[in-house]
Symmetry: C2
């Protein structure tokens, strides 16, 4: 491409774009997650994240206490991103318990949550849960209300089905169901098996029904 001397092309965005602190923090967290997903947590340096976000590296210290705090915020954002769909389904009191459970399963295995990038960042973070107390508290906080809302739903589903047999505590059933759903999420994200669209959710719904000994149909 000869003589493309257009200064607006060779030097785009000459002037720094001013954003609100919240907006800039969001963009920096997004850049952080992108770098971690593509090159690993090790590569998420201030310089690289700043370059990815299109800003100077010094700006990070202006919006965060430091690199560590930015990483922690990125982890919190990841937890929120992963749990929000499930929690939204659990909160849908307009549905019968059984339909709410099905909605929860579908939301938890939504294709949007099966992106390999999300898995990579998740794995990098949870590797530090037993290493760093701050990561642990973010982890615990993220899954605490999750379980608090999930177990009552299971109890409601069993009650709806007239299954009052307490052969197994509801807590145990919740553990099994969570394990199945989480395990399927990992298999689809990590092993990258070529599951046809919807197959993953089908397997989850089927497994949940078998463990609870219920039917999805009326």
């Amino acid at each position: 491409m000869p003589h493309s001397a257009d200064p607006t092309e060779t030097q785009p965005a000459r002037r720094p774009q001013r954003l609100s602190s919240d907006a800039r923090r969001g963009e920096l967290i997004e850049a952080t997650l992108a770098v971690i997903a593509e090159e690993g947590l090790r590569a998420a340096t201030l310089r690289k994240v700043a370059e990815r976000a299109g800003v100077s590296n010094g700006l990070i210290r202006h919006h965060f206490l430091g690199k560590r705090q930015m990483i922690l915020d990125a982890y919190a954002a990841t937890v929120e991103r992963m749990t929000a769909p499930g929690l939204a389904a659990l909160a849908r009191t307009d549905l019968t318990p059984r339909r709410r459970l099905a909605a929860f399963v579908r939301a938890s295995l939504d294709p949007g949550l099966s992106e390999p990038t999300l898995f990579s960042t998740w794995a990098a973070f949870v590797a530090l849960v037993h290493v760093d107390a701050d990561f642990e508290s973010i982890h615990r906080a993220g899954y605490r209300d999750y379980q608090a809302q999930f177990e009552p739903l299971i109890a409601a589903v069993l009650a709806e089905a007239g299954r009052t047999d307490a052969a197994r505590p509801v807590a145990d059933l919740a553990v099994q169901l969570n394990a199945l759903i989480d395990g399927l999420w990992i298999e689809s994200s990590l092993l990258a098996r070529d599951f046809p669209e919807g197959t993953l959710i089908e397997l989850a719904l089927d497994g949940v029904a078998r463990i609870l000994n219920i039917d999805w149909e009326d």
Copy 2:
């Protein structure tokens, strides 16, 4: 403690201990995994791993091509450590298929595999599976034969139970069972729920039986 001028105490192991290359490599890999579990993959530097192993930092380059190769070897060792018990159970052709499956479940959730340190290292490594091609090939190689031996076992279990109904492909059942087992492993390792001894395996055996619609008893 006054005047403890014993030179053998203040300067223990003055002389370097010579080991075979294999033995030294093993100790270095062990030190690498320990550092990763305690302080994260980021902290696994040549100097720190060497100090942990009680050797000089330069020795690592003598036994490995470099730090990267040592980390890769440590990952391979982790995969082997995680899959060996399950593979051993799968190979026990002296048992009936059903008992072999039960042995596989028990081996996969053995308390020795539920140590938090093992989970931390696993998570740190798999975070790089989608980032680094070498990590990916170790991952794929580790789980390839795993699945190749698992699916036939499921088919044999169904045949043994006289269940010839092919409502679901064996491959799908294998995915569900693997997801349940892996998910339970993660719940026990990550959430650190206080599962009483044996409870985890009970939940797994129960879930597997429900998904396959079989009984463990005769």
